[in-house]
Symmetry: C2
Subunit: 131 residues, 2 copies
DNA sequence: CAAGATGCCTTGTTACACAAGGTATTGTGT
DNA sequence: ACACAATACCTTGTGTAACAAGGCATCTTG
């Protein structure tokens, strides 16, 4: 009505409410993957499982997210990859973090801490007002 | 080359490294705005200043981000708006958080805590390996 | 022999963040 | 009087990550 958009309110409301939690975790996939690779080399499918085990419900990574991410990181020189065939198993593409990758991880982790602090201070503020 | 974009690799590398910190903070704008509005009504320009003061360097919000966000929140019923003209000053559009907005804020805050925990457990894990 | 797990990948869609631009008023410095 | 910054709202176009959905191929299990 105000902006002349031909969309019912219930639709936009539902959409907004359902999808928003995805936005919060945006960009965290990169931090998660680099953090895991800092512990040792992994192949893609392995990363998917590890994130699922240790990352909790908000850090889920899908295949359609992970593989393009790994390719971006490799193009940027943050990781290197290597195909490994063990015995009769299917070939796996192992990823290893590079020096630049570790530096970038340190930067990302620092920014992550700053973000936590910033949001935390905004959230703490409501608590004060309400008490 | 890979994506058909006429961009040298050094450019794309630089770009990736520089812009990634924006991705981490993605989606946090909504949480920040709702948190501020939970303390009391605000107008847009005021929100920009408050986030700058209390949000820290990672929670910066630009005008081109804030105003569409407020409109989305209003369309979704999370906030209500009201034009107020005080004396001879320029009219201000005040936003007030709604009941649904508070519920949504609580949900977002809970998800935020889960995200912190998940990423935290992944980051702690490297510390262990390296010690 | 079918179905699921393993393991890699891509294309198309969606949604947000932002740079850049616009409009208009008020206050400040010279 | 005039320029400039601050106030205060807004939009369009571009970039990009996340994802759903799909594909390919092998191995294991019922």
């Amino acid at each position: 009505m105000v902006y002349g958009i031909s969309m019912s309110q219930s639709d936009s409301t539902t959409k907004a409410a359902n999808n928003l939690h995805r936005e919060l975790a945006r960009g965290s996939a990169e931090l998660a993957v680099l953090a895991l690779l800092a512990s040792g080399r992994c192949y893609g499918y392995e990363l998917l499982k590890r994130v699922r085990e240790r990352g909790g419900p908000m850090v889920e990574i899908r295949e359609g997210t992970l593989y393009p991410l790994l390719h971006r990181l490799e193009d940027a020189g943050m990781v290197a990859s290597e195909w490994v065939t063990e015995g009769r198993a299917r070939p796996r593409k192992y990823y290893v973090i590079s020096g630049a990758g570790r530096e970038h991880l340190a930067l990302l982790a620092a920014e992550w801490r700053e973000l936590i602090e910033g949001i935390g201070s905004l959230l703490d503020h409501i608590e004060e007002e309400r008490s």
